[in-house]
Symmetry: C2
Subunit: 406 residues, 2 copies
């Protein structure tokens, strides 16, 4: 059994780095605070006898040798970086749950057959340097390493330079070839476990995502002298599209999601009819064909709306991730561990992208969710219970033991 207090203390110690007045954390990727959290993680791992490797994108791999050093390792981990107004648990929980597994194995002197590795993936949040999941993306070849290192932030500093500056542009060659399975603990970032009273989410996969940029162009005109019948109001089009996104997502439940998160009006003046609106659309579903269908329906609605309001439109895909179904072996290990430990649990689909999803494309992968208060994440008020976090960590320990063998 993992140690609830020890896990909680580690989380609270890490949360001091970049702590914000409102109780959250601002520890963005490749900043000095990111460096401090990496240093601390490495210190803790070395104290447990782990060997450390750092690859070219700054991913940190801490390895606890197995009885069979040549056998593929069982890996866990998540990320240490946060959103600018992030919480104390998103990402860091998955890293420190991995550390807690190693501490528990050491404490009880348990030797696994396969090596155990804990990874801290670089820049999962993607706020300072886009895109998100940069470290696991580059590691798994889903994103190009050179491309990622060349990405610049608003100050025109490249990810490679920033990584170099904090001393984490590593030289170890680590490949996904010798990994038997990857498991990741994470807070749910949604309200379902809390709503259903479950402690552990057995993550069976993740929703696919299709993101779009939409520009609607009408005619900017004076709000007073322009009769209603002679308007080409881009905001009316945007309102219809927003409602359609909601309608389409609702039509494909329980897994449909549709969100309009950005809406920018031009010129954005009280008494001017908006001549142009630029907006974003985020569609998600667990079924690949349904997701395609949702995107087609969206396209159709945009065509009709544009025609109706005499608007021109430009619809551009900005991201496209297919749904991920995790390997049965990993999902079963997690479910069995939850049962063995008597944790209330349910199968759940991840609505968000995670490093484990990229890992699922190169090896067997799975995830363990624990509830977060009111389902709130990417927010300084993000909160989770010590006992839930420890339950998830215990499930991770047992699932990893099953995968690694004794």
């Amino acid at each position: 059994r993992t140690d609830r207090e020890r896990l909680w203390q580690a989380l609270m110690e890490m949360a001091k780095l970049g702590a914000t007045p409102k109780g959250g954390v601002n520890r963005q990727a490749f900043t000095d605070l990111d460096r401090q959290s990496r240093d601390l993680f490495i210190d803790w791992c070395r104290a447990e006898g782990c060997t450390i490797r750092i690859d070219a994108i700054g991913n940190i791999f801490a390895r606890r040798e197995g009885q069979e050093p040549d056998s593929p390792s069982v890996m866990t981990g998540s990320h240490l970086d946060s959103q600018p107004t992030g919480g104390k648990f998103d990402g860091v929980y998955g890293v420190l749950a991995g550390l807690e597994v190693i501490r528990t194995l050491n404490q009880h002197d348990i030797r696994t057959r396969a090596p155990i590795e804990v990874v801290a993936w670089s820049n999962e949040e993607g706020c300072r340097f886009a895109p998100c999941m940069m470290g696991s993306g580059a590691f798994t070849g889903q994103l190009g390493l050179e491309d990622m290192l060349a990405r610049t932030n608003e100050e025109n500093i490249s990810a490679g330079e920033a990584l170099e500056a904090i001393g984490y542009r590593g030289t170890d060659r680590v490949t996904p070839d010798h990994i038997k399975a990857f498991l990741e603990c994470h807070i749910e970032q949604g309200p379902i476990l809390e709503d259903t009273g479950n402690t552990v989410g057995v993550v069976v996969g993740a929703l696919g995502q299709k993101w779009f940029d939409l520009t609607l162009t009408g005619l900017e005109a004076h709000a007073g002298p322009t009769p209603m019948s002679l308007r080409r109001d881009a905001m009316l089009g945007a309102a219809e599209v927003t409602q359609a996104v909601n309608r389409i997502a609702n039509a494909y439940q329980p897994h449909g999601r549709g969100t309009v998160g950005v809406v920018n009006l031009h010129p954005g003046s009280r008494n001017v009819i908006p001549g142009q609106v630029k907006m974003t659309i985020d569609l998600r579903h667990f079924d690949s064909e349904t997701l395609t269908l949702m995107a087609e329906e969206l396209h159709q609605v945009i065509k009709e709306t544009s025609q109706h309001h005499e608007l021109e439109f430009e619809l551009t895909p900005s991201a496209d991730f297919s749904p991920e179904h995790f390997a049965d072996s990993c999902v079963s290990s997690v479910r069995r561990a939850a049962e063995t430990l008597g944790c209330s649990h349910m199968d759940i689909v991840s609505g968000a992208g995670h490093d484990a999803i990229f890992m699922g494309r190169v090896t067997q992968a799975g995830m363990i969710f624990v509830p977060c208060e009111n389902g709130i994440s990417h927010n300084e008020i993000e909160n989770a219970e010590a006992s839930d976090l420890n339950d998830g960590c215990n499930v991770l320990l047992h699932a990893m033991l099953e995968q690694a063998g004794l």
Copy 2:
């Protein structure tokens, strides 16, 4: 008859001050370019023998004495300031049409009984210093003089300081007491005259305006893991309100107008459900009771929408102008002049606010509209025909002669 070429030349000469690459004008209130346009206007008026007075808010009054100097004057004018991306005609046409009237009277040596005055009102656009119609508002007591002088721009400079800096914080005491009538020429800023093939709009009044700021507050949450049924999406509320504004305005035609010109989302991120939307609503109608009814319907819709999407709302009025019905005497003078001159004309209601509306509260007032290309204004591509502009100016001349007497 006024001189089409002379009027056009004056307009084109003035348009050089603050000319923009796209053929428009950027000559915002109380800038050095505003000073240059004022200097030029005064030079031209002095050359016609006018006396000049400048009041505390920078309004410029150019007076051509009448045969009966003590009789109340007949006044015309508009504004020289422009939007940041404004056109060559909005405002400046009304000022230079007044100058053209004086030039024509001088040319033909016509003496009117009542004095004639041409005014250039300060800061009609209100872009650098809010609110709009500052000069006529302060002159007519609709806006407080001290309050207006204290208004600051984004650089924290006060209107009073800016006026002082360009040398136009005047000391002449000019009051609305001795004005018989006020007439203003202006481009329509809408498409109705062009659409109906008329050259002159006999403005019978102006729509009342009710402006609102609306804040809708829901709950910011992650777009992936948050099921549709557990969302409190402020943007869905904003979309419904936008459509309701349109529906309400359409229900009260021909005079109803409803516009959502500003919509700001928080946090404004692709994969975050908007937790808050701040938006503006501009409702207009010619009938005061109908306008009140429209505002009530809006309020009701916002209540229902907020309840439906579990949002909180805050609705704050930000402007409230009652409809203006111009004095019969002025409207008749304009209509008769158009008939006498054989201009195709129609009665029209101004959708926009104008200095003449404030003047209508302290004396008899009227307006003359001429078409602008595609109804477009507040835009560098704003355009108008020399012959239409001259027709409107001729109507002004004849209407003023009727008011001033020979």
